[in-house]
């Protein structure tokens, strides 16, 4: 019993999924992935299409069986359990609402299948309808609903049986921008209110950063990095993660010395400072790649001891700020992002010689 209460919501142990006969000739969708998702977490699987994130979700739901490895749900093995015996529910990418049923019938379907009593079902249906603010539409057919409303019904239907884990397969991808923003807030609220563990799959890095407690970045069937959104954004361990999440400059440099989690580095462009080391730093060569976010750079007009120089190649204005592309002495081009505040003079022109400063603690050494 004590082990069960301490168990993680989902414990994925060295799990692989291979489509085809074997590893050599088949397609490896998931390659010995291990991952622990805690109870009551909003956890996001983030990656480009084909990275294995949806496969992982389908393994948890039971629509696919792993080729190797095992998955535990609150300490219990899921192996061999068909989807209808797993206490997890899915919000499908295109909602998959039953077109021949009303909103209320859709939501009560799972409860009926669990053998709940009619009055209990009615109570739960109105409760979850209120939760997603759809009380008035209970008797509508699902094809009379807008995309956002269908989304809410899909959520209500999946939440109604009170699953131990809710799986969301890119549920916001079919919505327009404004509605997507609204639903992001809504999902986060639902997760807080229900206390159910959410596993959310997306290829949208902004979505992942906004909503998640933790994010796993995936590529080619592997998990590259797991961490809080802020850690992943500020300290991407690998070039792919750095590139995939937000905008970033990757500059060449030299490793001078290591000191705990930090190192002294020198950019080839002529700047010395401290940078964070990636988790596995043993194999780092002297030549390294250093990542700096555009907003961590600033411009000064005059040379100081801490600055390095370049010339402005292009300025792109986007309202709240502007991106400056600066060509460095090495030929490398960095982008820096400045806020367009009225109290700051931005009289720079293309071709101007400028000096750059790097915010303290913002440089990250990449593992590859």
């Amino acid at each position: 019993m004590s082990e069960q209460t301490a168990a993680a919501a989902i414990d994925i142990r060295a799990t692989s999924k291979i489509y085809g006969v074997n590893r050599a000739t088949g397609v490896v969708a998931l390659d010995e992935v291990s991952l622990v998702i805690e109870d009551n977490e909003f956890f996001t699987l983030l990656g480009p299409s084909g990275c294995g994130k949806t496969t992982l979700l389908r393994l948890i739901a039971g629509f696919e069986q792993p080729s190797q490895g095992e998955i535990l749900l609150f300490g219990e093995h899921l192996e061999g359990l068909p989807p209808f015996k797993r206490p997890v529910n899915t919000v499908f990418q295109h909602y998959a609402l039953f077109p021949h049923m009303t909103v209320a019938e859709n939501i009560s379907f799972g409860l009926e299948m669990l053998g709940k009593k009619a009055d209990e079902i009615a109570a739960t249906v109105s409760e979850v309808l209120a939760l997603v603010q759809m009380e008035q539409l209970a008797d509508r057919k699902t094809n009379q609903l807008s995309g956002g409303q269908q989304q809410r019904v899909a959520l209500a239907r999946a939440l109604a049986p009170r699953p131990k884990v809710l799986l969301l397969d890119e549920p916001l991808s079919a919505l327009d921008f404004k509605l997507r923003k609204e639903m992001q807030v809504e999902l986060k609220r639902l997760q807080n209110e229900t206390g159910i563990t959410f596993i959310f799959v997306t290829h949208d890095q902004e979505e992942a950063l906004t909503m998640s407690d933790r994010v796993a970045v995936m590529r080619d069937g592997l998990i590259l990095q797991v961490g809080k959104p802020r850690d992943i954004y500020d300290h991407p361990a690998r070039r792919f993660v750095a590139d995939f999440i937000g905008d970033i400059n990757i500059l060449k440099g030299k490793l001078l010395s290591k000191d705990g989690a930090e190192a002294s580095v020198e950019l080839d462009a002529g700047y010395q400072g401290k940078a964070s080391l990636p988790e596995s730093s043993e194999n780092l060569a002297e030549d390294i790649s250093i990542a700096i976010r555009p907003e961590q750079l600033s411009l000064v007009d005059d040379s100081t001891a801490a600055s390095f120089s370049g010339s402005i190649r292009e300025i792109s204005y986007f309202g709240s700020g502007s991106d400056y592309e600066v060509t460095l002495s090495t030929g490398e081009v960095v982008t820096l992002r400045l806020q367009n505040r009225s109290d700051v003079n931005h009289a720079h022109q293309v071709g101007d010689r400028v000096y750059l400063l790097v915010a303290v603690g913002s440089m990250q050494i990449l593992a590859d």
Binding site: P82, F84, N89, Q93, P99, H100, F109, A158
Partner: protein, 270 residues
Amino acid sequence: MTKTTDLRYQPGFSLITWFCIAFLYAPIAVLVWFSFNQNRSVTVWTEFSLDWYVKAWHNEGIQNAALVSLEVAVIAMILSTIMATMAALVTTRTAPYRGLNLSVAVINQPLMVPEVVTAVATLIFFAIIKQATGVTGIGYLIAAHTAFCIPFAYMPIRARLEDMDLSLEQAGADLYAPPFKVFRRITLPLMMPGILAGAMLAFIVSLDDVIITLFVAGPGETTLPIYILGQIRRGVTPEINAVSTVFLGISVILVTFIFLFGKGKNLGKQ
């Protein structure tokens, strides 16, 4: 599309259109027209009457033939639709396997084989069985009709299943419905329009059939088309026109239903 490139504004468009319509429907229009002729002639119009319909209704030969046709068509429809439904489920709801395309081809093959070949083959095959077992009866005719109706019933059911979003059934399983419940509560209701369309198609095809019936039907198993064929050999009267017009009416009504059922698209696919 501009006025100059739209096909409807090309020279001769309406001429060709009217020719095609006349080509397709003029004979039928003439047939229907003369079914209301008071005269015995099917070519010379005198005045309107429903006499031939009344006469046909009281004709015992036509009554019997219509009953045989109905019996065969209804039973063949039910049997072929059940088999076609099962075939459609197997060919759309299993993981792709070697020979899947072959299975589909085998199911549809009767559509490609010349009907007279099927007819002769069925005749010989049944003759062997009859000789071996001594069993006779209308069962043979029903079996033959069931067989050639299957591909017709199969097509709309399969089309419906292929249009259906597979994630609907997954959603059912995800919401704790075991496979049989998923079938009964989700797959079956959603494929029902396809099943009804398939059943009606099978019914019409059976009702219409001449060649196979001509070969397989035994004495006392005269269907309506066979009866009409026999009557025409003795000279055409507007009575035949009247029977044919009723037949036509039934077909048009059923085809309209098939069309309407087939249209109810919404299958959750985005």
